[in-house]
């Protein structure tokens, strides 16, 4: 099978639009061949994860593109970066590391990307429409855009997302093609009670459980009655994209490509059916905690970045309370959401509670945590999944309410009432 290029693709590859376009096109075409794509297609927007500083090679790559004169040719947002520009020095980020991370951020800004610096661009700046072809990086954003918005993106790895933004082209493969968007794995929640289905804590746990089994397959959830909110779907997707590689799920009756179960499977049969039991979920929930001790140094909420609604709902939970002096309480969000929240006075209760807010980045993408912080509690399956490996810290997973109560009491307070088998 050979890859068919348009005249413009070929002239871009030949360097007629400059060396940056040529380099980006050359990488895209190598990848198209590896993925056995038959052609390239055009995209309407991009979301770039490559601006995250991982080390000298990622910086070198960014600055090489800038030196060659790279500019993006479609509206392009930026994912979390290596530092919170306005507050990194309040944390333990080494100044030299921050300097390198800033260099990499500036490189992507200078290519014409919008400095949104959030893993949840769909919460403010960039909300693709149904059927839009897009090239997004950031696993949790890709699964949201595909599943909840019905846009079409493959999972774009760092380094390739920017090639797509520079050329406006991607390999015609995977989830860009409608025939690859039908369900493969059916998840049934028949035995799950409605009080669990209604709780925020259910969705990250379900996602953690499904991701491990589904791998990269398209998941269909048949809940018969559940009506998850956007924030709950966000948590579900991020968890499935951490324990697995799920880039598209359909929730029957809720997400746009799954009005009915037949729509979700497009007439095909499921490759696998999973009947989820409460005891499966209890095991998955336990797996998200690495520690059984009640020591607590920090609570962190906001992976993916907290939405305006999540900030709003936090208010009543912390009203009239104050965190224990031995526990830091951090919320990570995007600068766009923070600005709106300030305008709406939503941050006042957080300040009274003694919370801190970090924008543009998160605890996983910048070395911000002081060494004294050994034990972390979170409501996020993504934070919980990656904390032991990336941060070498202990982690406890719990509901937002349990996180708040723990922060007040100074030690981990568990609430297992919903999870009694």
């Amino acid at each position: 099978m050979t890859l068919k290029l348009t005249e413009l693709d070929s002239s871009n590859l030949a360097g007629e639009s400059g060396p940056a376009v040529q380099m980006a096109m050359s990488i895209l075409i190598r990848m198209s061949e590896i993925q056995s794509a038959k052609s390239l297609i055009s995209i309407v927007s991009a979301h770039i994860d490559s601006a995250l500083y991982i080390g000298p090679a990622t910086l070198d790559y960014a600055e090489r593109l800038v030196d060659l004169g790279a500019k993006v040719c479609v509206p392009t947002t930026l994912n979390v970066a290596g530092v919170d520009h306005n507050g990194w020095d309040r944390w333990a980020v080494p100044p030299e590391w921050a300097r390198q991370a800033r260099r990499q951020m500036l490189a992507y800004k200078s290519m014409g990307c919008e400095p949104t610096w959030t893993c949840a661009p769909y919460q403010t700046e960039e909300r693709p429409g149904f059927g839009d072809q897009i090239a997004w990086g950031e696993s949790s954003a890709v699964v949201f855009a595909n599943s909840v918005l019905g846009a079409r993106s493959e999972r774009y790895p760092d380094l390739l997302d920017i090639c797509a933004a520079i050329t406006g082209r991607v390999p015609a493969t995977g989830l860009h093609l409608v025939e690859n968007r039908s369900g493969q794995v059916l998840v049934r929640l028949k035995s799950i009670k409605s009080n669990l289905l209604d709780s925020d804590e259910f969705y990250p746990v379900l996602g953690h459980y499904i991701g491990k089994i589904a791998g990269s397959r398209v998941v269909v959830v048949d809940a018969q009655g559940g009506n998850p909110s956007e924030d709950q779907l966000k948590a579900l997707g991020a968890a499935m994209a951490s324990s697995g590689s799920v880039a598209l799920f359909h929730w029957v009756g809720v997400t746009p490509e799954a009005e009915t179960i037949q729509d979700a499977f497009n007439g095909k049969n499921p490759e696998k059916i999973i009947d989820v039991s409460l005891s499966d979920l209890v095991r998955a929930r336990n797996d998200l905690s690495s520690s059984t001790s009640d020591r607590l140094d920090m609570v962190v909420l906001g992976s993916p970045h907290f939405s305006l609604n999540e900030l709003r709902s936090l208010g009543p939970l912390i009203e009239g309370k104050r965190r224990h002096p031995g526990v830091r309480f951090l919320v990570t969000t995007g600068r766009g959401v923070k600005l709106l929240a300030e305008e709406m006075d939503l941050l006042v209760p957080l300040m009274k509670f003694g919370a801190e807010i970090t924008v543009d980045t998160c605890i996983l993408t910048t070395p911000m945590l002081p060494s004294g912080i050994r034990s972390i509690m979170t409501n996020s399956a993504k934070y919980a999944y990656y904390t032991p490996g990336i941060l070498d810290r202990e982690v406890v997973f719990g509901s937002t309410q349990a996180c708040v109560e723990s922060a007040v009491s100074g030690k981990v307070v568990k609430d297992d009432r919903l999870w009694v088998v």
Partner: protein, 155 residues
Amino acid sequence: MGSVSEKRREEVISGSKKILRGKPVISGYASGKLVVSREPLSFWGGYDSDTGEIIDRHHHLSGEVVKGCILAVPGTKGSSTTTAVLLEALQKGNAPLAIITSDVDSFLALALVVSEEMYSTSIPLVALGSEVFAELPSEGEVTLKPDGRIIVYPF
């Protein structure tokens, strides 16, 4: 994506030596100790580019140093930063000598394509398909040939 045809599979048993045939995604030669992961791995949060250690504490190879080994892994999962982490590991000299996957893994392939583009150096990547992948022994010595053949010498 790139499931490797069963017909490409050729198994020659001569003594304890075994030959598997795969698709050379990035063609090259490598020889060394085989480390086999039976589960997918996210390199971001799963691979330390400063040491070559597997650091995903949910993974069965957690704690194993695979720098200088030939890593067999069904594929990647999770974060889109996996590619960047492998590129860093290559640049720092802490990458595996070669990688063997089940299906063609575009996250890993991309790191090697960019490394060739930027630094004119890379490591081989071979996709075996799931059936042949399952025939890899848990440990042994292997030699990868540029045409995608893998010669396995079990311990």
